[in-house]
Symmetry: C2
Subunit: 203 residues, 2 copies
């Protein structure tokens, strides 16, 4: 059962993501649900409260998701060195692609990302939040990857900061560019190719 409060949140998010917070009126939000703007105030104390609730909701969702994706870290341990490396890399790849699908295809996450994009220059907190979500989502696990790479790529040498950039930037860019494309799976395919290319170049 979708409560009205919930529906308001979602309708508002959709509008904020397209037009930006200031450009969306309370009447517009209420109109999406076929009611009048006064009714909003039965559920939220003001417009800003809706925005803040969206941010809280995303935080909850993210925690939930992080719990599901919790890295076992110990499930695989004693195998041959190569097969260990390979399964580790496969996991990183699967995780990266899952994250990409989430931030481009999941309606809530995708809208949330766009909303933050539109507010990022007005508010340092929001700029931080945006980077935190996008980066921590992929990078934290990417750091594991980089550690693996550094461990196994015996020639050593490669700057891990650069490696992280090389790995993450194409994913980041495709995330932004997928917004203008209907078939998100095309973008997923590009990301997959990129990751293959990257991992190949690490051998």
């Amino acid at each position: 059962m979708e409560t009205t409060k919930e529906l308001i949140l979602i309708a508002a998010l959709r509008l904020f993501a397209k037009n930006g917070y200031e450009a969306v009126s309370t009447r517009q939000i209420a109109g999406q649900l076929g009611m009048t703007k006064g009714a909003l105030y039965k559920h939220y104390k003001n417009k800003r409260d809706i925005f803040d609730s969206i941010v809280s909701r995303m935080r909850e969702r993210d925690l939930e998701r992080a719990r599901e994706f919790g890295v076992p870290k110990d499930s695989l341990s004693k195998e041959t060195e190569e097969s260990y490396r390979d399964t580790a890399l496969e996991k990183i790849k699967a995780f990266s692609i899952a994250q990409f699908r989430y931030w481009t295809k999941d309606e809530f996450a995708s809208s949330f990302r766009k909303m933050l994009t539109l507010e990022q220059y007005r508010n340092q907190e929001i700029a931080d939040l945006l980077r935190q979500y996008l980066i921590s989502g992929v990078i934290t696990h990417t750091q594991d990857l980089m550690r693996e790479v550094a461990k196994l790529h015996h020639k050593g040498g490669k700057d891990p900061q650069i490696l992280a950039l090389e790995y993450f930037a194409p994913i980041y860019m495709m995330m932004n560019f997928s917004d203008g494309i209907d078939d998100k799976e095309e973008a997923v395919l590009m990301v997959e190719k990129h990751i293959n290319y990257f991992m190949e170049s690490m051998r």
Copy 2:
């Protein structure tokens, strides 16, 4: 001599880039110049006209810049194969970095990029414009690079679409991330490292 009309344009751009078009009031713009909002209408027919003038102005600037950077294309021609490749690559690198500095450090270009970023989801035209500026700026010359690479990297095989992504994405990402950083030269340094890394991996 900076005309008032010019000053209005610049003040408006700065505000649009931070808050988005709708969130900026005519009073705010006029206030930046110490005058009242009515005065704006002596120079522009309405608020939208200011926005459109900014876009036109950027177009002029871009053409001007393209003229300066016009690729000679014939200046160097008959040398040894390696030295030809090396100077070609050096030129691409210099161009990419110049473009990066332009879009992050030049006040007008940087603000313009942010402004388009904030309007991209409301208007398909603007989304196209944003991609056109960022991509055509680096990519057109990058395609030359890719042609060079394809020609000289005799093993062939590498998907040029992926190569373009690998080359451009880190530049694109650093462009966006530099907005949150005071010292843009740090970002330039990262970009330089990336290009070196990329070109090294192409040998």
